[in-house]
């Protein structure tokens, strides 16, 4: 969806403020939200694209006014309710009001969870799973779109023309994975855009480039 999360090229946020000793977690509750998200991913269950989709659905003003891990918390609470594991009443009361159906949702211990995270998620398919529509070196345009579901085709690239510099391989399709309606494996390409083709006369330097990894469905031939 064309939400506030799609920030590339937006203006008005002021300078980046790096600090010498930066932090991963600014408070203990952030640690717990991170841990909860990792522990619940497999048993709730939800996948990364579903998770991103819920964060993207946070209303713009709220999105801008919540911390990073607060957004994770909002998404977590949504999944737990959507899967029938927790009710809104329980969240409001901070108390258990019913037993969740935990069949097939037995919690894993820390060691097992680390093993799962260490293995990662299978996202890629054998290269011959799909025939590539584009060759390296091809000129492509990012399709226009305005759908309300999840996608990974940033607004600042849509309608722009670039060059495929790599066919990375065959990957699952985030748009359908986020809706749990199939993986639709397809080729993923690194597309190179000249800065001047994105930002016109305001591009900082003629030779600068932006590269993005785009699913085949996001692209059309020129």
């Amino acid at each position: 969806m064309d939400g506030i999360h799609d920030m590339g090229g937006m203006q008005g946020f002021g300078p980046v403020r790096p600090v010498e000793e930066d932090f991963k977690f600014s408070a203990d509750w952030e640690r717990r939200v991170f841990g909860l998200t990792q522990a619940l991913g497999g048993i709730t269950p939800f996948n990364v694209d579903e998770f991103r989709r819920q964060i993207e659905r946070i209303p713009p003003a709220e999105y801008l006014n919540t911390l990073y891990f607060e957004k994770w918390l909002i998404a977590l609470e949504w999944f737990l309710q959507d899967r029938g594991l927790v009710s809104a009443e329980e969240l409001a009361a901070s108390a258990k009001l019913f037993d969740a159906d935990t069949a097939g949702r037995e919690p894993v211990d820390g060691a097992a969870l680390l093993a799962i995270l260490g293995e990662g998620v299978e996202l890629e398919y054998p290269r011959d799973t799909a025939v590539p529509a584009f060759a390296e070196g091809a000129t492509v345009r990012v399709k226009l779109r305005h759908d309300v579901s999840h996608n990974r085709s940033p607004r600042y690239l849509r309608g722009r023309t670039g060059t495929i510099i790599a066919d990375i391989g065959v990957f699952q399709f985030p748009d359908t994975v986020a809706q749990n309606i199939g993986t639709n494996p397809q080729h993923l390409y690194t597309v190179c855009f000249a800065a001047a083709d994105l930002w016109g006369g305001e591009a900082e330097a003629a030779g600068d480039e932006v590269l993005a990894d785009l699913m085949e469905s996001y692209l059309e031939p020129v």
Binding site: D6, M7, G8, G9, Q11, F13, G14, V16, R17, P18, V19, D22, F23, K24, F25, S26, A27, W29, V33, F34, G35, L36, A39, L40, R52, L64, L67, Y68, E70, L85, V86, E90, T102, P107, V108, D109, G110, L113, L114, I116, L117, G118, V121, L123, R152, S153, P154, Y156, I168, L188, L198, E204, G207, D208, E209, V210, L211, A212, D213, M215
Partner: protein, 199 residues
């Protein structure tokens, strides 16, 4: 509110802390999670996984041309052989800075980051300003970090829009011929591997 999210003065933190504590207690009571598992995964990502992993890879590439060639050609297989794999790093690629090209990495849509090599991202990487500006004015963003890239060096910004996670290999500093791999690794900074610092 100010337009950056300071972590020191978040008026919501107290309420959020309570909300998170209540949620964890509720989920433990329901038998869905154990606090032990949370403690373990938090400790792992806070203490065991961090930029030293990525730095060891960069230093190895600096001293071993064959390894470097394999790393640049096939990042996932080469890194997995070293034990670097896992969630948010299933498909990692290393991109090399040269005198002609300076690379930097952003995720404009969320905050994708190569966890197995760099750990969890710093706050600035997740900030609205970095996500918004890195693609459109990378040189101005680099200036926020005190970095000036020469005008005749191209800046290439990699937007992590899919599941590939990028690590920048900084240029090996001049005058380091006498250093061994471990000493070289100590020179490699987290920001250098995101592309917002030179090494």
């Amino acid at each position: 509110m100010s337009h950056d999210h300071s972590h020191d003065h978040d008026p919501l933190e107290k309420g959020t802390a309570l909300r998170v504590r209540a949620l964890e207690e509720l989920l433990v009571a329901k038998g869905l999670v154990t606090s032990e598992a949370l403690d373990t995964v938090i400790s792992h990502y806070e203490n065991n996984v961090g930029p030293r992993n990525g730095a060891s890879v960069v230093a190895k590439a600096w001293v071993d041309a064959d390894f470097k060639a394999r790393l640049l050609a096939d990042g996932p297989a080469t890194l997995e052989a070293l034990g670097f794999k896992g969630f948010q790093g299933e498909h990692m690629r290393v991109i090399e800075n040269t005198p002609d090209v300076h690379n930097m990495v952003v995720c404009t849509l969320c905050s994708c980051y190569p966890w197995p090599l760099l750990g969890l991202p710093p706050a600035w990487f997740k900030s609205m300003s970095y996500r918004a500006r890195a693609v459109s004015e990378p040189r101005a963003v680099l200036a926020d970090f005190g970095v000036a890239v020469p005008a005749d060096t191209s800046v290439r910004v990699w937007d992590s829009t899919a599941e590939v996670r990028y690590l920048v290999m900084p240029m090996r500093p001049a005058g380091t011929d006498v250093l061994n791999e471990a000493d070289l690794a100590a020179l490699v900074t987290r920001d250098g591997m995101i592309g917002t610092a030179l090494v």
